[in-house]
């Protein structure tokens, strides 16, 4: 079973994504903040990391740090960013890390199929 670390500070989004990924056969660990995600990355290993780019910070993009840490540990091809606040600067930062970007709103089925592709 592939291990996924899912990071989102929005309880509703995190719960919905977690449920759908579990139904799709993933072993999901859900985290709500940057330091929690970074601690998990330091201690455990994952096949895929999905993170929102805004984690409790209204003006910043601390999810980029999670993205970068995850890409460093498991490879950029195994990390996926989500955001409802895409702009050229953010897109370029995500591109620099080398990860994929899911723009909100997105369908849950699209997310699952992307995850399946990434862990192949």
């Amino acid at each position: 079973m592939k291990k996924v670390l899912l990071v989102d500070d929005d309880d509703a989004v995190r719960t919905a994504l977690r449920e759908v990924l579990i139904s799709a056969g993933f072993d999901v660990t859900a985290a709500e903040e940057r330091e929690e995600a970074e601690a998990l990355l330091a201690i455990r290993s994952y096949d895929l990391v999905i993170t929102d780019l805004r984690l409790g910070d209204l003006n910043g993009y601390s999810g980029l740090q999670v993205l970068s840490e995850a890409a460093h540990r498991i490879g950029a091809g195994r990390v996926l960013a989500m955001t409802g606040h895409a702009n050229p600067l953010v897109e370029s930062a995500v591109e620099e890390v080398g990860s994929g970007l899911l723009k909100k709103p997105f369908s849950l089925s699209k997310c699952v199929s992307l995850c399946n592709e990434m862990v192949q």
Binding site: T29, A31, E32, E33, E35, E36, A39, L40, I43, G56
Partner: protein, 260 residues
């Protein structure tokens, strides 16, 4: 402060566990001493102590969490007479400031626990610490009767330099150095090197992570003083520990399987 950090710093959300340490030459007296372990809030990722302390380090409250955990242990252990116990404190906590000495000794006195019962296991998780302050604080604690140990010896920053600085009474050899079986020559050589280093300083040795009879026989054959691990005991909740001690006494036994 975030919801998770607030939970992690709420003493009611911290859960103490106690792992007995046995005397290798007399394993039928299992509760020679205890290692106190903390778990974070249940149903969160922080229940795992490794994740909890990594999170605390990243949130810069490792020192606060160390001392909160310590107070949780004392609250329970004051009910147990005479059993020595060890707590884990990070080098960052012990070199935080000069006040940390009183922050350790005062609660002991308040709990009516003799300092001689306390053994501090020093965890060195980062290289950047104030070494002079650390040594000064450790000397004060030792002068008050507290014993010192180096934890996880042989991995990360728990190295020979630290042994020289601390001059510990006890060295705990990290579980990763314990050979899975006796035929692994390289692993055996590493473990022996760690044992020799500890003995050079006159320290007693604890082998961590003993999970099988052959590992126990191996460490016993080397004259290692103490051992801990799932072969003897899993970490216990306080009530389980109390039951075990009261049914057998600190020098009693629940490890009859070791006699066979």
């Amino acid at each position: 402060m975030s919801r998770l950090a607030t939970l992690a710093l709420d003493p009611r959300q911290l859960h103490a566990r106690y792992q007995p340490i046995v005397d290798c030459q007399d394993p039928l007296t299992p509760i020679v001493t205890l290692e106190c372990l903390i778990r974070g809030p249940q149903n969160t990722n922080l229940f795992d102590p490794q994740v909890l302390f990594e999170y605390a380090r990243r949130k810069h409250f490792e020192h606060t969490l160390d001392l909160l955990s310590y107070r949780c242990f004392l609250g329970e252990l004051s009910w147990l007479c005479d059993v020595p116990f060890s707590i884990n404190l990070h080098a960052t906590t012990l070199s935080h400031d000069r006040e940390v000495v009183q922050q350790i000794l005062d609660p002991l006195h308040e709990s009516g626990i003799a300092p001689e019962r306390l053994n501090i296991e020093l965890i060195e998780s980062v290289p950047e610490i104030n070494v002079n302050l650390l040594v000064q604080n450790l000397n004060d604690l030792r002068a008050a009767g507290v014993k010192l140990a180096v934890d996880d010896f042989g991995v990360a920053y728990a190295n020979l330099h630290l042994l020289g600085l601390v001059q510990p009474e006890i060295v705990k050899i990290d579980r990763s150095l314990l050979p899975v079986n006796g035929s692994d020559r390289k692993a055996t050589a590493c473990f022996l090197a760690a044992v020799r280093s500890a003995r050079t300083l006159g320290a007693r040795i604890v082998a961590e992570g003993v999970e099988t009879r052959s590992q126990f026989e191996f460490v016993r054959s080397l004259g290692v003083t103490y051992a801990q691990g799932y072969f003897f005991h899993k970490p216990l909740e306080f009530r389980e520990l109390e039951d075990r001690i009261h049914s057998t006494g600190p020098a009693g036994t629940s490890n009859r399987h070791l006699a066979s």
